[in-house]
């Protein structure tokens, strides 16, 4: 049966009615109209849908909305805006770190989680943190450079994790 859930997303509470097993991805995209998390595989294999729940990267395409209601959800919209991007987002812009950009939101969320637990990662640690994320355009090296650039800029992302 559809159930009423209260989700805390980017610091704001939202009420949504959905089947408990509905993947969080569709609630974020269709009910909350957030574009950042992308549908890529629906099987937690590519990382395009990654968001943070209580600071931990989760694949929203397989994460039931019923479980998400317990935590604090951060999507890329919670980091910064096109006008006022966070330091991490600025680093991605600086490095022109994509081609199509479809995987970028998930990459940035994974990097956000990494930098929160390890503010000065090595190149190998960045790659390890992103290993479960797929990029088809071949922008990997730019993405790694962007994360390292952000880490060197004494990262304190604007409007980041509440």
């Amino acid at each position: 049966m559809p159930t009423l859930f209260t989700l805390r997303v980017n610091g704001t509470a939202h009420s949504v009615r959905a089947l408990p097993e509905t993947p969080l991805l569709y609630v974020l995209r269709n009910d909350l109209k957030l574009n950042g998390a992308k549908f890529g595989c629906g099987q937690a294999q590519c990382g395009a849908c990654s968001v943070l729940i209580d600071g931990i990267e989760q694949r929203s395409c397989v994460y039931p909305v019923s479980a998400a209601g317990k935590g604090s959800i951060t999507t890329i919209e919670g980091l910064g805006t096109a006008q006022q991007p966070s330091a991490l987002q600025r680093a991605f812009i600086h490095e022109q770190a994509c081609q199509c950009g479809y995987c970028s939101s998930g990459m940035i969320m994974a990097a956000q989680a990494l930098l929160a637990r390890n503010p000065k990662p090595s190149e190998a640690e960045v790659k390890q943190a992103l290993e479960g994320h797929l990029c088809r355009c071949g922008a990997h090296n730019r993405i790694v450079r962007a994360v390292l650039r952000a880490s060197k800029g004494a990262l304190a992302p604007k409007g980041a994790l509440a």
């Binding site: 993947p23 574009n35 950042g36 549908f39 629906g42 812009i93 992103l130 071949g138 090296n141």
Partner: protein
């Protein structure tokens, strides 16, 4: 005063004043309409879309809207074209608004394919903007009472000596650009560029990195419903029975649409559509035709068993050339491979008042519109196809098919926009594949160590099955309808671009050459354009055999290539890549030990894409783990000459990305096919290169300001595959001739 200005009438100039923003007028063949004489040739896509107003509009609000028939799919083309327009007009980059492929608004520039957007659209925009600048200056000259030659422009502000000034925005009129472009107009010369050649930041990235609405997938229309398709379990299967009533009773299901063996569910919510699709799969009963064997199964069989159309692509003979004293021959193959976009195909369609609007990430909205109209039996004018970005596509993926799916469903639920999202297995099983290929090459070596004879024989399925064929409908669902519509005959792309034979003619100066094509239009699987078409396999074969022949001649691979190349630009990219990599001349390339028990080697590959686009050389360094049969590309260097580089960093991004993608194809990628169907359904079945496997890449762009810009998007693909194979040979002394270089093949080669 130039020729262009002489054509501007006095009346046009006097009408200069505050402009109105109006739609553009189409007169794609204005010149022809005036009589039977052939109109003068205009540069790039201007030739087919001759009105200046088709390309740009100068708005009184201080912006310039530039229209292109090309589409953005992550290659940065919209930003590069804006850069061209801003430079030619002398306005700020941020003043340019780009409108990309829309059948109701932009010029028809065919497909965004073949690395031609800068050559086609960039050239058109450059000349159209240069002429618009002259027209605006002429109007300003009248207004200010000075000579146009005495005017200067800075960011759209036009100033005369002595302080008088006006702006583009003040003198523009809607009528001003509604005229045909002038032949022989001269745009800026290389020394006048301000923005061209600069690494301007792409304008589409800030929204993409912040959750902005940047993709078709982000389009949300009022009343929009969600659909999923119930594709057959295997190509050519027929839907025998389906309990549609049971599906229709599921929560949120608005409609179960069935037309022959095309079936889909349309639901209020997306997750409902996904659930209904799962139920559909469980309930639908399909016929189970066996898949016939493919070329990939017959690589080892005698060639005459294959049904082929044979033709000579190219032949040249020089009876005076030295006699070959030694023949080096090998066969190279490539598996079926996938575009494997990160975002599965998506489309939105809306049918209302007899009009159909389709939002699509197709690479060719005009051809798509034509095929949709033909399939639905409606006038093309009643269909509008609007491009919006999807994930990177790398060729003809499922985008057009998803658009037709959406069109069929929009017709079934008129009044409500229908969003179709393919699931991951839809994309992997139903996107058109890159064709498996087999290439046999033989080099004849003279006594003095030169190649005097070169024979290249290739076998391939089609590489061009996009919409727009003359005698059929090239949309997946069409063949499954109750009244099926068959696809058009898949003719191969003719030279000089070539399809299966793309890049089959080596750029080297071999006195005797013959290229023979065995084309197989009757493919058991749907194959179509995957980045570079046949060039990837052809260059892999040519450049591998170049190394095998160099080894037979006891020559260094770099020196051996240069020995056979007169084209200075080709030589330069090879020399540059070799120098940047610290190439050590020796018969075996770099050789040497890697870390631990691994073997390390370097190899080079080169091609000029399509023999008329960018020049690209790649040096790859590999480490081979003989026990595990693992080949890793650890580093790569590339040098590229794309003539005038509009945005060098954009070129670096394309070459580096293409190199990494090609490394992934070469090391890992093959569609799994057996008699019961396509077995590649998820990323588990089709691994691609991951972060830990990606090489460090250095790209040098050789800027040539006075040369024409050359297409670059596919330049690295062919050379990379060969460079990896050659590096493996340098490391191990053995050859890998079958792509991909899976561990079992590696172990077999080393046994």
């Amino acid at each position: 005063m130039t020729a262009a200005l002489r054509n501007v009438s006095r009346r046009d100039l006097l009408k200069a004043g505050t402009g109105l923003v109006v739609g553009i007028v189409f007169a794609p063949s204005l010149g022809l309409a005036q009589g039977t004489e052939t109109p003068a040739h205009l540069p790039g896509s201007l030739n087919g879309n001759r009105l200046l107003s088709a390309w740009l509009r100068v708005d009184p609000n201080g912006t310039v809207t530039v229209f292109t028939g090309k589409v953005e799919f992550g290659q940065g083309i919209a930003s590069a074209l804006a850069q061209v327009a801003a430079d030619e007009l002398d306005v700020g980059y941020q003043r340019i608004n780009m409108v990309t492929a829309d059948t109701s608004r932009t010029p028809d520039e065919g497909f965004t394919a073949g690395s031609q957007s800068i050559e086609h659209s960039g050239t058109a925009i450059r000349f159209a903007c240069a002429e618009a600048r002259q027209i605006l200056l002429a109007a300003a000259a009248v207004k200010l009472g000075v000579e146009a030659a005495d005017l200067t422009v800075v960011d759209g502000t036009i100033a005369a000596r002595g302080g008088k000034h006006t702006t583009y925005w003040a003198v523009t009129t809607d009528a001003m650009l509604r005229r045909e472009a002038t032949p022989n107009l001269k745009p800026k010369s290389a020394d006048e560029y301000r923005l061209i050649g600069q690494n301007l930041a792409r304008r589409d990235l800030p929204p993409k990195f912040t959750g902005g609405a940047a993709y078709l997938q982000d389009l949300r229309l009022a009343g929009m419903v969600h659909a999923r398709i119930g594709r057959p379990p295997v190509p050519r299967a027929e839907l025998v029975s389906l309990d549609a009533a049971a599906l229709k009773a599921m929560p949120g299901v608005i409609e179960v649409v069935r037309d022959g063996s095309f079936v889909a569910v349309v639901c209020e919510r997306e997750e409902q559509a996904i659930n209904a699709r799962m139920a559909l799969r469980e309930r639908a009963v399909w016929s189970r035709p066996e898949l016939p064997p493919t070329l990939a199964d017959t690589f080892d069989r005698p060639d005459p068993e294959l049904q082929t159309q044979d033709s000579v692509v190219y032949e040249k003979t020089a009876p005076s050339a030295s006699v070959a004293v030694r023949q080096i021959e090998a066969r190279y193959t490539r598996a079926f491979q996938l575009h494997a976009s990160i975002g599965p195909s998506c489309a939105v369609a809306h049918s209302t008042d007899g009009k159909l609007t389709v939002w699509t990430h197709s690479q060719g909205v005009f051809a798509l519109r034509g095929d949709i109209a033909r399939a639905l039996g409606v006038a093309p004018a009643s269909v509008t196809c609007i491009h919006m970005e999807g994930a990177g596509c790398y060729g003809h993926n499922g985008a057009d098919d998803a658009a037709f799916d959406a069109a069929l469903l929009a017709r079934a639920v008129p009044g409500r926009p229908v969003r179709v999202q393919w699931m991951r297995d839809d994309e992997f099983m139903w996107e058109p594949f890159g064709s498996a290929m087999s290439v046999k090459v033989r080099a004849g070596l003279s006594a003095d160590g030169n190649i005097v004879d070169w024979q290249h024989e290739l076998w391939s399925y089609p590489h061009a099955r996009r919409p727009g064929g003359r005698d059929g409908v090239n949309l997946l669902a069409a063949a499954y309808l109750a009244h099926p519509l068959q696809p058009a005959f898949p003719a191969d792309v003719p030279q000089p671009n070539g399809g299966s034979d793309r890049n089959s003619i080596p750029l080297y100066d071999f006195p005797n050459q013959k290229i023979l094509k065995h084309y197989m239009p009757d493919a058991p699987l749907r194959t179509s354009s995957l980045r570079t078409l046949g060039a990837y396999a052809n260059v892999f074969a040519i450049e591998s055999l170049m190394d095998e022949t160099a080894a037979a001649a006891g020559a260094d691979p770099v020196e051996f290539r240069l020995r056979h190349l007169r084209d200075e630009r080709a030589r330069t990219v090879i020399e540059t890549a070799a120098r940047n990599s610290g190439w050590q001349p020796s018969a075996l390339g770099d050789g040497g030990r890697g870390t631990g028990s691994t073997l390390r080697g370097r190899g080079i590959g080169f091609a000029r894409y399509k023999n008329h686009a960018c020049y690209c050389a790649v040096v790859a360094e590999v480490e081979v783990d003989p026990m595990g049969g693992i080949v890793r590309v650890t580093r790569a260097w590339s040098a590229v000459d794309a003539g005038l580089a509009i945005n060098p960093d954009g070129i670096v991004n394309q070459i580096e990305g293409g190199l990494i993608q090609s490394a992934s194809w070469t090391l890992k990628e093959a569609v799994k096919i057996d008699r019961s169907g396509i077995q590649t359904k998820s990323w588990i079945d089709y691994p691609i290169l991951r972060f830990s496997e990606v090489p460090a890449v250095e790209v040098e762009v050789i800027q040539r300001p006075t040369e024409d810009s050359l297409g670059v998007g596919e330049g690295a693909q062919g050379p990379t595959g060969a460079a990896i194979a050659n590096a493996f040979a340098a490391a191990t002394g053995r050859r890998l001739r079958d792509i991909p270089f899976m561990p079992d093949r590696v172990k077999a080669a080393l046994a």
